[in-house]
């Protein structure tokens, strides 16, 4: 993709931006109403339209080194870990698979950069931004809420900021990414499961909120 065609694409996307609907856009009021501050509180909100690029390549090949240089951070090589560079988070999904997550609108630029450094090396880069939406669950009771439906050990001794996992929450496949120690969790969930997961989380949160 050339810089010109990228700019043209971006202009086309900008013109259509007002037509976008996020999977949980209609639920924002209910998510806010179900949240509560305080020492035992928990908050839930949707972070729509995050850029998500699925990257697969040989983790010890030359392309991995070039991609790491371009991103400004090594690709996480340890199971279930995350590296952060600027606004981008690189999530470990598998021994040769990562998810680059960035703010809304960054996907075309990052894709262009990575595609260039990938060159002719074997690998793949796919923009999956529309595949999933993101729920952010935070607050002192967030871990307790999540533990209602997730069998992973989320205790700080086993899971903390900089950890991610692909697992199930209430039988729904999610990518779980802890962003801070409050704790704050991001749940990347497929669009068609988002409504169910949000309803389930609101129900689980009702124990912690007045």
């Amino acid at each position: 993709m050339t810089a010109d065609s990228l700019a043209a694409d971006n202009r086309a996307v900008d013109r259509l931006a007002h037509l976008r609907r996020s999977p949980l856009g209609g639920l924002a009021d209910r998510l806010a109403a179900g949240s509560a501050p305080g020492p035992r509180g928990v908050r839930l909100r949707e972070i729509p339209y995050l850029a998500q690029l699925n990257l697969r390549l040989d983790p010890i090949g030359p392309a991995a080194r070039r991609v790491a240089e371009a991103l400004g951070t090594p690709l996480p090589d340890r199971t279930a870990s995350v590296t952060v560079t600027g606004a981008l988070r690189v999530l470990w999904l598998g021994p040769d698979e990562w998810l680059v997550v960035g703010p809304d609108g960054t996907a075309p630029g990052v894709e262009q950069t990575l595609r260039q450094v990938l060159g002719d090396e074997p690998g793949s880069l796919v923009d999956l931004s529309a595949n999933r939406t993101t729920l952010e669950l935070s607050g002192p009771s967030a871990r307790a809420v999540l533990e209602h439906g997730c069998s992973l050990d989320l205790h700080p001794r086993a899971f903390g900021p900089g950890h991610c996992a692909q697992t199930t929450v209430s039988k729904v496949q999610v990518i779980l990414d802890q962003t801070d120690a409050e704790p704050t969790y991001r749940l990347l969930v497929r669009a068609s499961f988002a409504r169910y997961l949000a309803d389930w989380l609101l129900d689980a949160m009702s124990e912690s909120t007045p």
Binding site: T79, A80, L93, G94, P95, E97, S151, L152, A165, Q166, T167, T168, K171, Q173
Partner: protein, 97 residues
């Protein structure tokens, strides 16, 4: 429920996995040369031991990688977990069907 240790992700519930049947069933080098009986044997006939059994599992809700597990078919004890493509670690104690 079984608690299976994925070689990449660690211990996860059985519900995150899919079962893939007997491991180490080699594809015939020259399928066209096989008789119908031999082809049928390759496709359908599997060991059914009462004891340790090497089988394939897919971590479908996690890292989506195939790997092998040695599981006791009576007690469900898992004695080995190893990446796909590796030889069975305890092959000398194999129980015949």
């Amino acid at each position: 429920m079984l608690l299976i240790a994925c070689p990449w992700c660690g211990e996860r519930d059985e519900t995150e996995y899919h079962y893939g049947g007997q491991a180490h069933v080699a594809h015939p080098a020259d399928p066209a040369a096989l008789t119908d009986a031999e082809w049928g044997e390759y496709l359908f006939v599997r060991a059914n031991p009462k004891g340790d059994f090497a089988e394939r599992w897919l971590h479908s809700a996690g890292c989506r990688r195939w790997f092998n597990v040695v599981r006791h078919t009576v007690t469900h004890d898992i004695t080995a977990v190893y990446p796909a493509g590796q030889a069975r670690p305890d092959a000398h104690t194999e129980v015949t069907a």
